[in-house]
């Protein structure tokens, strides 16, 4: 059981078997959380560096907890106070971290492809924690794991992604992985926030959210970045709320057992109403718990083997 790669850069290039391997590996790590000792010595002596060029608390903390529960040492590089502000290049920063014997580098960067550049230049395992509008593979995996845990299947599972699809790396990772696993993916949002060629990925587009929620087994609501409004991609927050907020009334149109997901951080009363976020259909906090277990599974599966050390 392994991934035949040293890095996790995205879900686009993993096949169904790889995705299944990761999802099947998560439960033993989640089981650890219920013990009095939530830790295992699996990565003892390994060094995990988080290198975040964009603000994040949730993802970075989740990786840090995951690595610590596997007994790795964690170093958080805060870009605002590091050599990056003195003009060091990405590759040089990576090489410096490798010279400090980093075994894993977890990177978030506003430019798509940055993790890939590091992966090609370093021996350390690179994990993409979000790159531009490209991918956020561990978020995609934790979303899939949460869906699978609750719905026990992907084949024919109807998943609806709502909101800003065009700028969302979470949406991209969800779409790549879900379609490969046999789920039926649909998106809904303002036409300006949905890429024209999204249909080529086998995704259905609904501009009417009321219509879209009717069939869904899972609704994954994306965060609206309020700065997009200044770019005139939607006329006003008020109008977005009217047309695309998931409200109690809209939830009423959906199947009774529909799962409500959100990658966080939530803008309550914008993309999701508070009563929906706190409803029994919402699994938003479980996503957070599952995120740690999924990231532990990824760290475990990417662990260097002897014959892979020259990679």
């Amino acid at each position: 059981m392994s991934l035949n790669c040293k890095d996790l850069l995205g879900l686009e290039h993993l096949d169904k078997k790889d995705l299944q391997t990761i999802l099947d590996s998560v439960k033993p790590f989640k089981d650890l959380f219920t013990r009095s000792v939530k830790k295992a010595p699996t990565l003892i002596g390994k060094t995990v560096v988080t290198l975040f060029y964009e603000p994040s608390t949730r993802t970075r903390n989740s990786f840090e907890i995951a690595a610590k529960r596997l007994s790795a040492d964690v170093v958080n590089v805060t870009v605002g106070t590091s050599s990056v502000v003195k003009g060091e290049s990405l590759i040089d920063t990576g090489k410096t971290l490798e010279a400090m014997k980093a075994d894993y580098i977890i990177i978030r960067h506003s430019l798509a492809g940055s993790p890939d550049i590091l992966a090609r230049n370093l021996n350390a395992s690179i994990i993409n924690a979000g790159d531009g509008f490209h991918e956020h593979p561990t978020q995609g995996l934790l979303d899939l794991y949460t869906m699978y845990e609750k719905k026990k299947r992907f084949e024919g599972l109807k998943v609806l992604l709502v909101g800003d699809i065009i700028h969302s790396r979470v949406a991209k990772s969800n779409i790549w992985a879900l379609t490969k696993m046999g789920a039926e993916v649909a998106v809904s949002g303002p036409p300006t926030l949905i890429p024209e060629d999204i249909k080529d990925l086998g995704v259905k587009v609904y501009y009417d959210l009321d219509e879209a929620v009717k069939n869904a087994d899972v609704v994954n609501i994306l965060r609206i970045q309020l700065e997009r409004q200044q770019e005139n991609l939607f006329p006003s927050v008020h109008e977005y709320v009217e047309l695309y907020q998931l409200t109690k009334e809209r939830l009423g149109l959906a199947k009774p057992g529909v799962l409500i997901m959100h990658p966080g951080p939530m803008n309550r009363s914008i993309e999701i109403s508070s009563d929906v976020a706190d409803s029994k259909n919402a699994v938003i906090n479980e996503q957070v718990t599952n995120g740690i277990a999924v990231r532990m599974a990824v760290l475990y599966l990417l662990k260097k083997r002897k014959n892979a050390s020259s990679n």
């Binding site: 059981m1 392994s2 650890l32 009095s36 002897k306």
Partner: protein, 176 residues
């Protein structure tokens, strides 16, 4: 050709005799628990529980049972050449504090699996005691670990495999 060390009859006899010895040392079944090491140790643990339940005249469900996977506690993960091992369930659905634990595995060799299993157990609590029962002791220990209950002693550096009815359709121990 596989060389059979223990045939089906001797296999079942060994399970019976281990069970009997465990029962003789632990008449109070309420304060002991049987935990099988994944994967073959789990099948053996279930059989031993069924034998002990018979001897004690109680239902099998009265005897505490758990499973344990050592993967995350192995000391050789850095030396793995191929795939990372699949992690199986560790399920200990009771408080093992103040319990006498009988740990079950199929083969005892270097002792490293048992070392890892002891670490897993202590992560769950502080048992009153832990004793080890194995179907085959193949010698050549690398750690100061011994089994209290042994079905068959067979010193060998060759890889010894245990087949169980539950997984392989037949009970036997052989050199493959």
């Amino acid at each position: 050709m596989a060389e059979i060390i223990v045939d089906s009859k001797a296999f079942q006899g060994a399970v019976k005799s281990i069970s009997k010895k465990i029962f003789n040392d632990n008449h109070n079944i309420s304060d002991f628990a049987v935990i099988g090491i994944q994967r073959k140790g789990v099948f053996l643990a279930k059989r031993i529980i069924s034998e002990i339940a018979n001897l004690a005249g109680v239902k099998e469900s009265k005897i505490l049972f758990g499973t344990l996977d050592i993967t995350l506690h192995r000391d050789d993960l850095d030396n793995f050449e191929s795939d990372m091992p699949i992690i199986k369930d560790t399920d200990i659905p009771f408080d093992l504090s103040r319990k006498n634990i009988i740990l079950i595995d199929d083969v005892l060799y270097t002792g490293r699996t048992v070392r890892a299993a002891l670490d897993v157990l202590t992560d769950f609590g502080r048992p009153k005691s832990i004793r080890l029962a194995v179907l085959v002791d193949r010698g050549f220990r690398e750690l100061p670990i011994e089994a209290k209950y042994v079905g068959v002693k067979y010193e060998s550096k060759k890889f010894i495999k245990v087949d169980c009815k539950e997984a392989d359709g037949e009970d036997k121990v052989f050199i493959s």
